[in-house]
Amino acid sequence: MVEQVAAQTNQTKTSTVFKIEDCDIYYGSYKAVRDVSMEIPPNQITSFIGPSGCGKSTILRCLNRLNDLIEIFHLTGKILYHGQNLYDSDIDPVEVRRRIGMVFQRPNPFPKTIYDNIAYGPRINGFKGDTDEMDALVERSLKRAVLWDEVKDKLQESGFSLSGGQQQRLCIARAVAVDPEVVLMDEPCSALDPISTLKIEELMMELREKYTIVIVTHNMQQATRVADKTAFFNAVPTESGGKVGYLAEFNDTQEIFGNPKETATRDYVTGRFG
């Protein structure tokens, strides 16, 4: 599968990273999201916005098969990653997650040293180099997350000794240390103060050069600041009394916020609901 995906990566580098086709997502018999189809372009920041319960995080977690951890989860339709369906039976979810990294809502460093937090990913993925090469990789990853200058003198201290914003950048460094192609971010700034948020946003703009970034955010200003494309998800009540999420509109960020086609999008981005 590795070679397969790698080969396809080279062939179709420019067009589309993810192509979601007619996705319905269920938890048990409960349909959480319906009829999602969209294409996510490479080396851009795509943001998912929408009211609570619209399924934006659910969709994000499908992109690296992290929803597999939930037993009652299942999905119909296709999620193509460079043309390869991630939910084909011969796909190894562990390999998927190595190529498609994730940063979570709350900073979640491992209870290990700063150094080991970064080195963990490469080690479990069979890093062959010696200590010097690992040192270099740790330094490179921390520099990429713009954290190196703040932590270079205390690499052997616990990851928990850092502030919340630093911890989140540590988590980003940890994600990029395994050299993924995509970094998924699930409300990465919602637990952070404004200054840390700004730093993470600047970091995202830099990471865009090298990675494809998909971010879920509740903060619409954040979406307008960082995202090239924005998907607005909405939720509607169903006959059975629950709610089901769907993709209401997907376009360039300027269009979504400046000239939305759908009434629901307009209402949401102008703060009428949500």
């Binding site: 994730m102 979570f104 979640n108 460093p109 290990k112 990913g121 940890r174 994600a175």
Partner: protein, 305 residues
């Protein structure tokens, strides 16, 4: 805002305040009382042991004769037996218990079956130790005789190994329950973080979850060790109660707790004092184990905080 909207600012009555003070005093007294209980028990044992301490001094813990007829007492075989049987019990129960704890804290099987299993394991802890002893005599020993018979070995039955096996079963529920709790109480973020960078499930369990839960796991193991060292009834029924040091685990041995249970009823004079001395040694040993556990746990924690 009208007067009726003002929150109730009535001050607490003198009685209420007094009751608060009384309550604090009462709980303080209970807490101190429990601590004093430990000191009182240790003190009484020490007092009763003084004649033997005068007579034998530290020689007591390195001598290996236990002869009530000549009033010559040394507890080395029992100290050895206590340590060896508890250590072997740990050797068996730790990997087994940790494995079960991992299995039960992950979703390998449906929650309903897991809940039943957890309940049954906790019931293991509720079986009286004399029942374990009986089971040892009537089931385990014949089974071991048969097993060693396959290799042409003569196996008499009561032995250090039999006792260690029984002890390992008895301490299993402690290790499982505490390890499972500390694994289950880890934040789910940790697991997701590890899986999210492409770790396998096993990699996540062994390289992230167990290190993060290690202080709870070590605490559970030390608690189990304390239990194994102090266990009396089951040990005395299957260990053979022979005051000798034998390197073979298939030979009978003795533990301090078992010695006390066997000899106290008929002991007189200096023998009572010697038994008290042995009891005091046991108290010190379990105390050392517990302090050791605290030190290990706080060292491990200090590494991460």
């Amino acid at each position: 805002m009208t007067a009726s909207d003002v929150p109730n600012t009535r001050s607490r009555t003198a009685g209420e305040k007094k009751f608060d003070g009384f309550f604090v005093g009462l709980t303080t007294a209970f807490a101190i009382g429990t601590g004093l209980l430990l000191l009182a028990i240790s003190f009484i044992i020490l007092m009763a042991a003084i004649p033997a301490i005068r007579e034998f001094g530290l020689q007591f813990v390195i001598a290996s004769t236990w002869n009530p007829v000549q009033d010559a007492y040394g507890a080395l075989p029992m100290i050895y037996g206590t340590l060896v049987s508890a250590f072997i019990a740990l050797l068996i129960a730790v990997p087994l218990g940790l494995g079960v704890a991992i299995f039960l804290s992950e979703n390998f099987i449906p929650l309903k079956i897991r809940t039943v299993l957890v309940f049954m394991i906790e019931l293991l802890a509720a079986i009286p130790s004399v029942v374990y002893g009986l089971w040892g005599i009537f089931v385990l020993i014949p089974a071991m005789k048969w097993f060693f018979g396959l290799f042409g070995l003569q196996f008499i039955g009561p032995s250090m190994l039999t006792a260690a096996l029984i002890l390992s079963i008895m301490i299993l529920p402690i290790i499982i329950a505490i390890s499972r709790d500390s694994l289950a109480s880890l934040p789910p973020d940790l697991r997701q973080a590890s899986l999210g960078i492409g770790a396998t499930r096993w990699g996540t369990i062994f390289r992230v979850l167990i290190p993060a839960a290690v202080s709870g796991i070590v605490g559970g193991i030390m608690l189990a060790l304390g239990r194994a060292m102090g266990e009396t009834m089951a040990a005395t029924m299957v260990i053979g109660n022979s005051n000798q040091i034998s390197l073979s685990l298939l030979e009978p041995g003795n533990t301090i707790a078992s010695l006390l249970a066997n000899q106290f009823a008929e002991a007189k004079g200096l023998q009572v004092s010697a038994l008290m001395y042995a009891a005091f040694v046991l108290v010190i040993m379990t105390l050392v184990v517990n302090i050791l556990a605290q030190v290990i746990v706080s060292n491990v924690k200090a590494k991460y905080d």
